[in-house]
């Protein structure tokens, strides 16, 4: 199995340890769900892999072996650009010519064709995350880092976004940082729980059909969700 990214080390916030001797290898073409309560350093691990500023002291090594695309809870849409220009933002920032035909196909894939010329202010929270998803796909990078991208959405929109993302990000290496056990149970090909004690692999609710999220109401998924929550509470 090829490796998509690897991080090993420990981190401190000031003098307080944030996490202790973490060792995580992301396998290519697989969804790794990094689950944990708020404040244990999940996002820090993602940002370290992305090479972003974290504000913590990190000793160790973090490296993505594949080119990276990022999608976060804050959709980070540019307010003065319409949906299509937001999707092609990366091309503009790299000084490349934007492939608008491909952008339009991706906008159609996330179901926003009739909104392509709208400014983000006119979109709902769910629609904004769909634009962010299209923008992430436009980057066309093998490794996609998702930093709680659906956690600000209502349950119904979130479930829809999980299905959409599972389909559109098929065959990519994905690191999904989440604090939602249900989300991890639906999407993970591998679920890793991060607590102050470190990282622990968690049992899966059976294999996932590629390109699909597991049904939210399947008994195994619900059992895994409950088990994950139990471990989060125990930690």
């Amino acid at each position: 199995m090829t490796e998509a990214a690897h991080i090993r080390g420990r981190a401190w916030v000031g003098d307080q340890p944030l996490f202790d001797s973490v060792d995580l290898t992301l396998r290519a073409a697989e969804w790794t769900c990094l689950l944990g309560p708020s404040g244990v350093g999940k996002s820090t691990i993602l940002r370290l892999i992305a090479g972003l500023e974290t504000g913590v002291r990190f000793e160790g090594h973090a490296k993505a072996s594949q080119p990276v695309a990022l999608m976060a809870q804050d959709a980070g849409l540019i307010g003065w650009l319409d949906v299509r220009s937001n999707v092609t933002l990366g091309a503009r920032l790299r000084g490349e010519l934007a492939d608008t035909a491909r952008a339009d196909r991706l906008i159609a894939a996330v179901g926003l064709s009739d909104r392509a010329a709208h400014l983000p202010a006119r979109l709902s929270g769910g629609q904004r995350q769909r634009v962010a998803l299209a923008r992430t796909l436009f980057e066309d990078r093998p490794l996609v880092l998702l930093d709680e991208p659906f956690s600000a959405l209502d349950a119904r929109t979130r479930t829809g976004m999980q299905d959409l993302a599972a389909g559109l990000l098929r065959d990519r290496s994905v690191l999904l940082v989440t604090h939602d056990p249900a989300e991890a149970a639906r999407l993970g090909d591998r679920i890793v729980l991060l607590t102050s004690a470190g990282l622990q692999d968690q049992p899966l609710p059976g294999p996932r059909i590629p390109g699909q999220a597991r049904p939210y109401d399947a008994p195994q998924v619900l059992q895994t969700q409950a088990a994950l929550l139990r471990r989060m509470l125990a930690a």
């Binding site: 992305a50 972003l52 990022l70 540019i78 990366g90 790299r94």
Partner: protein
Amino acid sequence: MRTILMTCLLALTLWQGLLWLTGMPPFLLPSPRAVLDALWLNRAEIAHAALFTGTEVLAGFAIGSTLGASLAVLMAASRRVTGVLHPLLTFSQTIPIFALAPILTLWLGYGMAPKIAMTVLIVFFPVASAFLDGLLRTPQAALDLAQVMGASRWRVMRHLRIPAALPGLATGLRLAAVYAPIGAVIGEWVGGARGLGALMIHANGRMKTDLVFAALLVLSVLTISFAKTVALVLRRLLARYGG
């Protein structure tokens, strides 16, 4: 429009009332009527002076804004530049502009140049500081994305930081538009024979208070129209950027 009319009416009433109550002589406080007469009698001279002052204001505003905005971008682009320039910028604002006027006249002569320079000095600071403030507040989410997308520093500046800071720039420009005429008029007070400032100083010396007030009135109208126009143009141009 109605509020403006009401305000004018109230000001005129207070003014006339003050005259009736105190019985001040016209050479100290002329009546509204006397000011209007002075305005009409000296209309050619006042119009000429207003044109002169207006030119200085426009030129000073254009040059000062360009300088201020460029300086802000430069400072936002490099911490080292900011380290050197920021104290200098603050220091420049501790010098009273009145103290500089005679020196500028000495250096640049009695023409338009020292007045434009004064206006530039007054304009560039609010523009630079408001714009810089905006440039340093680009949303972190957008900057993170740009970094992961592999954007160069210059492209981040051009495509994200500058557009995101345009509302800040607009605030600076609106402020600067109000202050710009002050620079020009101070310059005219200190040296030279043309413009509304010079007209006021000369009229004051000859105790022609009604003419001073007439010139002042024109200056106010000029300033308000300029500031309103700048605000309107900015609102049209920057609607998309949340300005």
